[in-house]
Symmetry: C2
Subunit: 589 residues, 2 copies
């Protein structure tokens, strides 16, 4: 027995006269004077089936009782549709099946929500995810996801990389991001952690001499609920030996070109633009610049270095900066919008948001009166100010100003609808990240990338000199449309340098021996120079299909509190299970 | 900068005269009158490098100080080796590099064990897994593993299957095998379970209309320590709609043929042999027969149905069976070996092990005196008894007798070294498993496969009639050389039938609503007929590379107590972490 001869997207006019059997779901049913029409749907398409009572009374009678989403098997003959009744929107729109036999494989109750309704509550959809996934957009998203990972695997295989699985049940490192703990039954009181990243394993694979490793790896982070976070991330994870930053950049560009060729049919130009972290921050106020529009930050330190305007002059005297963006033609911004932008600026650490609106040849601005004519002239020339423009300023320490104006820039682009091409794909690399960043609150240096990142060869002496803030990392991020889709670094491969870096990060030698003895030891037995990268599969697929909801690209996502509404998970455990694990619940939600 | 121009397996005589740069590990070093020879190793091979002090003093002097496993970069000129000094065992054995430059990329301490030593303690090797993986056998195993999964993915992609990731953080179902629990921080007192199998998710994908799903999936089972068990298994997981057992068998045969063609270069004949569970048990005493040798079980019920020998007659009178195997030419078995076999028989539930040795025309046996001449004649004819044979008997209930003789059969094959071709690949399908098995201890019916398995269409009435033991399942296992490498079934897709089966298995309607409401509900909204299969990747790779140690095919295995000796995991958690999770440790190892 075979269930079907064809898929529902397969038949054409040339098949007329063939006897066929199809299976699928009743997508819709219409009765016209006793004749029953159904649209039969499967993963591959839709085919119209017609039941004529005068020819096949039994089948037609059964078809009359069909409901939407019933699962059926239909046999009949392919016939061309009458002229004028073809459906040009369907690949099978020129034919229909004149059915003689109908087998109902499974009846369907009325669905809890209509599949073609967009405004259905997300919780209801997640609870019935097996229905939500019937929507054509979801099938397309999962198909694109399949293609992205397939293309990735084919690409790395061709490049001599081996896909190697690393453990999910990993060692707990309480220093990092929040991790999921897994109690051990054989060693009660001890715990595994779900792998947050294969980082250490892949470096150890390099020590092992595997040279070229990759993996599409599940990573687990117990993060606080946020709309775009999920507990299980998937990343393209890669590590190679005897490789430079340049080699890795080339490799990843090649991959991304192939992926977008495969799933979007576009040819991304290479090489991608490259920008240092300094430049990205100075020009876009972000380490992941969205280059689908201009609206760049302009540095005005020279203009205001001797200004009488205290706010700007003070920032510069304190070693800070003054920058501005010119929102061309946005002088008509509403008071509400200006207030919104000011709120945003404050949220990211600014005290306020100075602005100038140029209307009817006049500078309408709370700060205009503090500016000299020379300063105004300089602004006009450097910002290209014209009638109708809106200028927004930031003054203060460099990082805060960049950050604030970077956020303002994105919001203004939204308000002004500056992204005009929905298909635009602006890739770029951000390079020369700082290795270390000082956290004033914790009073300690943190790794910007991670503790295994290699300092720039020219800057190693700066570590010895204690000038941590100036050390550049051999780290690189790849950005698409303002989203970081991946990042990596060349790693430290010397035990002594690694120990030194741990020390700078405040990890004492004792703690190093507790957390990373394997790595420090492994580096003493012939560790090759190596480096790698990780790309976020979920984000990449989101960008490829054009959605902003990460749950649109995951088959069975949890909600943003980590609940699986379909399976009803997590759940209380049985007392027997807890006894076996040697744990006890002390607090309940 | 590029680290190298060639891999260490690349250069040939035709490259003579080229200037090259290689990177790798010092595999060995020999000094001959000031001239230093090193074998340089990378993942791709070994190349001989010679340092001549008279030509390049500095490099030669540095080379003199090299130690095994140092990581170096060598530049020089390819030269043909002198006639008579070629190494035919090496792909690069006709050439050597006359080095002019040596860069030491990283020094290596003396390794804790020699890489080419076979008898190194496994714990020591696991602790230094990054060194253990340098052994060529391990590199080959991981390469084969990569190829197996790559071939699998390519195959299913071509067949229109989508690879879809299902959650690792899943719902706890305390009924099944022991699972790992993961405490939720957002819902203290509640737990996820690590997925033991994507079973329910993949069935829900079928309800969703995805039709053809596969995944190379990590599965987690918290099993008790055993030599061949690991906590993280990898399986090829597959599900399809509108598909029959026949379709799935054909699909999987196609896959296995491709895998063994790719990794072993052999062409497996199709179709595979097929055998019912009944036949497999009757002839091989196993539901996973090893067919690399004969030694089949012979049923002797007819011979002894009216026997005076009480042991055999009694078994038959009680509805049991009498079977025997003829170990040809094994009459010379030692007393110790006979005792070992008897122990084994008892271990699997027999009271003892009756035997006959045919030596010098005489039947040496504790039971010969109870047999009539007619019975002896029947045995000679049915078992083909000749001088030198050893006959081993089992009598009792059918399942025990099959099981015992099945184990005896395997042990005898080991003792007699009956597997003569180490490359033999004997595939077969076992079909028509029973759906349910009665557990006398628990006094309940259990699912032989799992609770979602579909009964044979002809046997559904037997369920209604309460004749559970007679119901055959639409389940199938694929066996290679006596190892079950995969199994699957056609599933139940009707809510009512599924509920009925749950009931038979002792899962009350209330419990069903607690554990499986999503499935019972989903089946009411248009669930298509569907079925699938899962293959064990670890076992498949073990058979492909010819190892019996599962840790040989996993990059970073835990030991059989679930410890990661390299990372030192599991470990006690920080009090802060436990507080956040709302749990407390009540017992420590």
């Amino acid at each position: 027995m075979t269930y079907r001869t064809h898929h529902c997207g397969a038949l054409r006019k040339a098949d007329s006269g063939s006897r066929v059997t199809l299976c699928g779901w009743v997508d819709s049913r219409r009765d016209h004077g006793g004749v029953v029409f159904i649209d039969l749907r499967d993963r591959n398409g839709i085919t119209q089936v017609v039941f004529r009572p005068e020819e096949h009374a039994e089948a037609a009678s059964a078809a009359h009782g069909l409901r939407v989403e019933d699962v059926v098997q239909v046999s009949g003959t392919v016939a061309p549709r009458l002229t004028g009744t073809e459906n040009t929107k369907l690949a099978t729109g020129e034919i229909e099946i004149v059915a003689d036999t109908l087998v109902i494989l499974n009846k369907a109750d009325v669905l809890p929500f209509p599949l073609d309704e967009d405004s259905v509550n997300e919780d209801l959809r997640l609870e019935h995810r097996y229905l939500d996934l019937r929507r054509p957009a979801m099938v397309r998203n999962l198909t694109v996801r399949h293609k992205v990972v397939k293309t990735t695997r084919d690409y790395f295989d061709r490049q001599g990389f081996l896909e190697i699985e690393t453990p999910v049940l990993s060692k707990s490192t309480p220093e990092g991001a929040r991790e999921f703990l897994v109690p051990s039954r054989i060693f009660p009181g001890s715990f595994y952690a779900l792998s947050q990243s294969p980082q250490q394993y892949k470096q150890l694979l390099m020590v092992a001499g595997l040279e070229r490793y990759f993996q599409i790896a599940k990573c687990f982070r117990d993060e606080d609920p946020r709309a775009d976070r999920i507990t299980e991330l998937t990343q393209v994870d890669l590590e190679a030996s005897f490789i430079t930053q340049e080699d890795i950049i080339e490799l990843i560009e090649g991959l991304l070109v192939e992926i977008f060729r495969e799933v979007r049919g576009v040819e991304i130009p290479r090489p991608f633009l490259r920008m240092t972290y300094q430049e990205a921050m100075n020009r876009y106020g972000s380490d992941k610049p969205d280059r689908r529009f201009g609206l760049e930050l302009i540095t005005l330190d020279e203009v205001f270095k001797a200004s009488e305007f205290k706010v700007f002059r003070g920032a510069l005297d304190n070693g800070g900066t003054v920058k501005a963006i010119n929102a061309k033609g946005f002088a008509g911004i509403t008071t509400g919008q200006i207030e919104g932008l000011t709120e945003l600026a404050k949220q990211y650490g600014a005290k306020g948001l100075a602005f100038i609106k140029v209307e009817n040849g006049e500078w309408k601005s709370p700060i205009a009166k503090f500016l000299t004519d020379a300063e105004k002239q300089a602004l006009i020339s450097q910002l290209g100010i014209e009638e109708g423009d809106l200028i927004l300023f930031g003054a203060g320490d460099w990082e805060t100003v960049c950050n604030v104006l970077g956020r303002i820039r994105l919001r203004v682009a939204e308000l002004q609808k500056l992204i005009t091409d929905p298909n635009a794909l602006e890739f770029l690399w951000v390079v020369e990240f700082p290795l270390l960043a000082y956290n004033a609150e914790e009073q300690k240096w943190n790794a910007v990338h991670h503790p295994f990142t290699r300092p720039h060869a020219d800057d190693v002496a700066l570590i010895e000199a204690g000038e941590y803030g100036k050390v550049r990392a051999q780290a690189y991020d790849v950005v698409l449309n303002g989203v970081e889709i991946g990042g990596g670094s060349i790693r430290i491969h010397e035990s002594d340098l690694q120990a030194k870096l741990f020390e700078v990060l405040g990890i004492s030698p004792e703690k190093q021996q507790l957390l990373f003895p394997h790595l420090l030891k492994a580096f003493r037995f012939g560790a090759p120079p190596h480096g790698g990268v990780a790309l976020g599969v979920d984000r990449l697929v989101m960008l490829a299909v054009g959605t902003e909801n990460i749950r649109d690209v995951v088959a069975f996502p949890k909600n943003n509190r980590g609940e699986d509404l379909m399976m009803s998970s997590p759940t209380p455990a049985e007392p027997r299970q807890l006894r076996e694990l040697g744990i006890q619940v002390t607090r309940k939600a």
